[in-house]
């Protein structure tokens, strides 16, 4: 007898029905599982360029997030702002957008492209992430801090020792700085500087020096809207001081032809005693020099309340007004600040996330830990150059420093150029002046 069983029509139907039911069930189960994944967030971000490892952190965060599917896009440096603004104007902005500090995102706030985060993101996360005063407008906050950029003056301790200076007591006042520079110069060491060819040294110099004669950051905004004037000696004293360093021969000779980072390299390489640097560089520089890179605030010459206060800039993330589900976007931002993600951030980047609750015990390098404790966790101010309108930045903030360093401009002339440029900015941007005026109120208010 034939052992093979012939399928009757009934059997065929039964089998088909069972297969159909199985298929349907197997289709349903993932559907249930993926219900949370139905929520989709677009996230446009930047930062791998300045903090290698961030891509790894973003990828792992997205992979581990179960509440929504996040689609990331790493942006090119040149289009971070314009790409977002163009998309927002067309109603197609991502849910989450990377935001530089100050005017670099405030303009989008004024155009109505960003959502206020108060009441959307938890207060705990907002406060701990330190979005800085520069993210406040009209009583709301528009960014969650992501990672901090402490800004400081760095110095080479070995060169200090060679010149007979105390490497653990860097100069704190302007006179002490001049005396230290003189000693370094006498010892045959180029005392101070870096590279200004690409202009960023000029910007950083303003970051440290302009606040020295300010009582609030709002006062800086008043300089642009015409309520204060750069021609007032108080507001261009910082440029006069830079000219003094030039006149005394304390700046490195190749400063005008070097770019920012090769200039900082000179300090780490023991060819320049004092420079300007940023926190993200410190771990590598400290390691390369066996802990011989010191940090300090810019020696004080000014009489403003902000003189000598450490500077911490913070990069951040915001939520666009195009976001269909802002709460889901906010939840993802909160997730990035969970203790597990803060630790993952450190592991991926070797740098500190912007969160005051971050467990600093994981930081092995004493210099890096000290910097975070003294800059990040103590009273600090944000980067004043983030208040500078783009037109002023390009026309005055950068060129003044470059021209003073090459000896073709005095501090007074720099003040004159800055004043004229601020006036020019008001003429070119009449619609922005009122926004700046309102912003000055937020920036002058106590935190």
């Amino acid at each position: 007898m034939d052992s093979r069983r012939h399928l009757s029509r009934r059997d065929l139907l039964k089998t088909s029905a069972m297969l159909g039911a199985g298929s349907a069930l197997s289709g349903l189960l993932p559907a249930f599982a993926a219900q949370a994944q139905d929520k989709t967030l677009d996230m446009w971000w930047w930062g791998e360029q300045e903090l290698p490892g961030l891509q790894k952190f973003v990828d792992s965060s997205i992979a581990g997030y179960k509440e929504a599917t996040v689609k990331p896009m790493l942006q090119d440096t040149a289009v971070v702002i314009s790409q977002f603004q163009t998309a927002a104007a067309a109603g197609k902005a991502p849910d989450i957008q990377y935001l530089w500090n100050g005017v670099y995102h405030m303009e989008s706030v004024w155009l109505g492209y960003l959502k206020g985060l108060k009441g959307l993101v938890s207060d705990d996360v907002l406060t701990a992430s330190n979005p800085t005063a520069l993210s406040r407008f009209g009583g709301d906050i528009y960014r969650v801090g992501w990672y901090p950029l402490p800004m400081f003056w760095c110095y080479n301790k070995t060169l200090f020792e060679k010149a007979g200076l105390d490497p653990e007591a860097p100069p704190a006042t302007w006179d002490a700085l001049l005396a230290a520079c003189e000693k370094l110069k006498t010892a045959g060491i180029e005392p101070l500087g870096g590279g200004i060819q690409d202009g960023y040294w000029s910007e950083w110099y303003i970051t440290h020096s302009l606040p020295q004669n300010l009582d609030t950051l709002g006062e800086a905004v008043e300089l642009f809207i015409g309520e204060k004037d750069f021609r007032d000696p108080k507001y261009h004293e910082h440029w006069t001081k830079l000219a003094e360093l030039k006149t005394r021969g304390y700046l490195n000779k190749d400063m005008s032809s070097l770019e920012l980072y090769p200039g900082i390299d000179l300090v780490a390489a023991g060819k320049l005693a004092i420079g300007q640097s940023i926190g993200t560089r410190l771990p590598a520089d400290s390691k390369a020099t066996g802990g011989k890179i010191g940090y300090m605030t810019m020696p004080v010459f000014g009489k403003g309340k902000l003189a000598g206060v450490p500077v911490v800039d913070v990069q951040g993330l915001g939520i666009s007004t195009n976001a269909e589900d802002p709460k889901t976007a906010a939840a993802f931002l909160e997730y990035l600040h969970s203790p597990e993600r803060l630790k993952a951030f450190w592991d991926a980047t070797g740098w500190i996330p912007s969160n005051k609750n971050f467990d600093t015990s994981v930081i092995a390098d004493a210099s890096v830990r000290g910097l975070w404790e003294n800059w990040g966790l103590k009273p600090n101010i944000s980067n004043v150059t983030n208040l500078v309108p783009g037109q002023f930045y390009e026309r005055a903030a950068i060129p003044t420093g470059q021209q003073i360093v090459q000896g073709s401009m005095t501090g007074e002339q720099a003040g004159e150029l800055a004043s004229n440029t601020a006036k020019e900015w008001r003429e070119f941007n009449p619609d922005m002046v009122e926004n700046y005026r309102k912003w000055a109120l937020d920036l002058s208010a106590p935190l």
């Binding site: 040149a78 289009v79 702002i81 314009s82 603004q85 163009t86 927002a88 104007a89 067309a90 303009e107 155009l111 492209y113 200004i196 060819q197 690409d198 202009g199 000779k253 190749d254 400063m255 005008s256 032809s257 070097l258 770019e259 309108p389 783009g390 037109q391 930045y393 390009e394 026309r395 950068i398 060129p399 470059q402 021209q403 090459q406 073709s408 401009m409 020019e424 003429e427 070119f428 941007n429 619609d431």
Partner: protein
């Protein structure tokens, strides 16, 4: 419609799709740029403000400084013409090793401008190889701050432009030389004409058209296509200070860095109109080249 009329229309119908495509790709953006130049643009649109953008630009010292720098860079053209002529004639006369030289002089034109500019920037740093060699030769007074000094930086850009753009001149001139009637040169040689006389009386008159063409192309290049040189050598800012700022960079800054698309559009319109004026002599020069070759 008569058969004759439809015959006349036929060619236009053939090119119509391409014309429509070109109108969409080039015409529409051009119209938008003209429109933006009359608006205070924020984001992707803004209110109509008439001629205010033009008024602001023409009253701004930075704009005129940029124009002046473009004009100064035009000084590179005579140098480019002379160098290109000299080298192409030497190559034409097949001096020893001419094949190798031909490759060497063409290389700069093959390489992308940013690559060349980055390398040259390193060479011209204050403590870079150029100054090191000059110091070694006891020519310290020539060891300038080539890219860091406002007095010198534009000249450094010019050196770079001359070096690279001359390669195009050499290619064009050599091509023209190779199509010359050699019997005239041979006859002149037999008559006892020296090298200079042959160049001046025989070669140059026949190359007038191609030289004109090269000059016009170079003028357009210097007015509207030196962005990459300036971007790299000028530290990405047209610096030091504003020493290497040119109109293209002015437009870039207005659009990307200072969020003023209306101003960028108005400056683009001005640059466009100047370029259009220069296109006519270029076409005339091209016609002359063709006639000479024929």
């Amino acid at each position: 419609m008569t058969a004759l009329q439809s015959q006349k229309l036929k060619p236009y119908l053939y090119v119509l799709p391409l014309i429509l495509l070109l109108a969409f790709v080039f015409g529409y953006p051009l119209l938008r740029i003209f429109e933006f130049s009359f608006k205070l643009v924020r984001g992707i649109d803004g209110p109509w403000i008439g001629l205010r953008n033009y008024e602001l630009i023409l009253g701004q010292s930075l704009f005129w400084e940029s124009v002046l720098h473009n004009i100064q860079l035009l000084l590179a053209i005579p140098a480019m013409v002379v160098i290109s002529l000299l080298i192409s004639i030497l190559l034409y006369e097949r001096i020893t090793g001419w094949k190798l030289y031909r490759i060497i002089v063409f290389v700069p034109f093959v390489l992308a401008i940013p690559i060349i500019a980055v390398v040259m920037k390193r060479m011209f740093q204050f403590s870079g190889p150029v100054n090191e060699v000059l110091r070694w030769l006891s020519l310290d007074f020539l060891a300038l701050d080539w890219i860091g000094s406002s007095d010198v930086a534009l000249w450094t850009v010019m050196i770079l432009i001359v070096w690279r753009e001359s390669a195009l001149g050499i290619i064009l001139f050599l091509a023209r030389l190779l199509s010359l009637d050699e019997s005239m040169l041979e006859a002149a040689r037999l008559e006892g004409a020296n090298w200079w006389q042959r160049v001046w009386h025989i070669i140059l008159p026949q190359m007038r058209g191609v030289i004109e063409f090269y000059v016009v192309v170079s003028v357009i290049t210097i007015l509207a296509a030196v962005f990459s040189y300036v971007y790299v050598v000028g530290g990405g800012r047209g610096g030091p200070g504003t020493a290497t700022m040119v109109i293209e960079f002015y437009i870039f800054n207005a659009l990307i860095r200072t969020s003023l698309p209306g101003i960028a559009a108005a400056a683009s319109v001005l640059l466009f109109l100047v370029s259009v004026l220069l296109i006519f002599p270029m076409f005339r020069a091209r016609r002359r080249v063709r006639e000479e070759e024929a």
